[in-house]
């Protein structure tokens, strides 16, 4: 213990703190993805490596060292989707991001909460993504461009069963419905309930690969859910939805 404390100067503490922050962020990023199971395996191997080193088991330690070198390449292949999402998050931050005005946020929240509440009562399925800092151009291009001012009525009209655009998701940017009928990526999160349909999987998927706030209205149960950063909050009342949306959209002010 004394030896450890002797090693600690401010540079060492700073280095450990930076290492801690990076490792913690990697853990947070991997939490809830398939990669977490692989990570557990890696942690066990790392612990085994240190044990072999300390107990002078040279052969096993040498084997693990060689295995790690090979494993680095394997990690890039195995973690490819997670690495891609991470780089997208890092690289797609808009430098010249203009924050929406308060009255625009209020209008947006009013329209979405009203539409979600009505569609929930009528058991009409809906999927609405609110763009924040990370661009959603890829997903906008998969749908039909609208550029319409947001109103509760337009949202209800889009998702009305049988209409051409009701099947995909809507992307909202500021107070505009930019596109409808958009295809969102499906999550492969193993922790998500099996009962969750494609709409919920798409909502979580988009929230994993961007910072968008995604609202889902279930066609079967009429429940309102919200996906943010890969986390799905289910069975929200319209007032809950309003409170969370306010918190999320006004947060960056």
């Amino acid at each position: 213990m004394g030896g450890f404390l002797k090693l600690m100067d401010w540079k060492a503490i700073l280095e450990i703190l930076i290492l801690w922050f990076v490792i913690y962020k990697i853990f947070l990023f991997l939490k809830g993805t398939k990669a977490v199971y692989l990570l557990r395996g890696i942690v066990i191997l790392v612990i085994a490596f240190f044990v072999f080193q300390k107990t002078d088991l040279y052969v096993l330690s040498w084997l693990l060292t060689k295995f790690f070198a090979f494993f680095l390449i394997l990690i890039v292949i195995i973690f490819q989707p997670e690495l891609r999402e991470g780089l997208i998050r890092l690289g797609k931050r808009h430098i010249f991001y203009i924050e929406p005005k308060q009255e625009e946020i209020d209008r947006l929240i009013r329209a979405i909460v009203s539409a979600a509440s009505i569609m929930s009562k009528k058991r009409i399925g809906a999927l609405m993504a609110i763009k924040r800092e990370i661009g959603l151009k890829n997903y906008i291009e998969s749908g039909v461009m609208l550029n319409a001012d947001i109103t509760s009525e337009i949202l209800q009209n889009i998702f009305f069963p049988g209409t051409p655009l009701h099947d995909g998701g809507v992307i909202i940017d500021g107070t505009k419905i930019v596109a409808a009928g958009c295809l969102f990526p499906l999550t492969d999160n193993p922790d998500l309930e099996r009962a969750m349909g494609m709409r919920h999987r798409a909502a979580v998927g988009l929230s994993e690969s961007s910072d968008a706030v995604v609202i889902v209205v279930s066609e079967e149960r009429g429940s309102i859910s919200l996906a943010i950063n890969g986390q799905l909050t289910k069975n929200l009342s319209p007032s809950d939805l309003q409170t969370i949306l306010k918190g999320q959209l006004e947060k960056k002010k």
């Binding site: 450890f4 280095e15 450990i16 801690w20 490792i23 240190f50």
Partner: protein, 50 residues
């Protein structure tokens, strides 16, 4: 940024939440960070001695 805004932000961020959210994850990350630092530091000092 106005001082009232800063105070508002501090009030909003609960210290309890900052510490106890994902506590296990934080502890494991800290453990790994310390072990990694000690190992690399040991390797580097050994290298310098050689």
């Amino acid at each position: 940024m106005k001082i009232s805004k800063i105070i508002g932000y501090i009030k909003e961020v609960s210290i309890k939440n900052v510490i106890f959210n994902n506590l296990w994850l934080k502890l494991v990350a800290l453990g790994i960070a310390i072990i990694t630092w000690l190992y690399v530091n040991g390797e580097l000092t050994r290298g310098i001695r050689v």
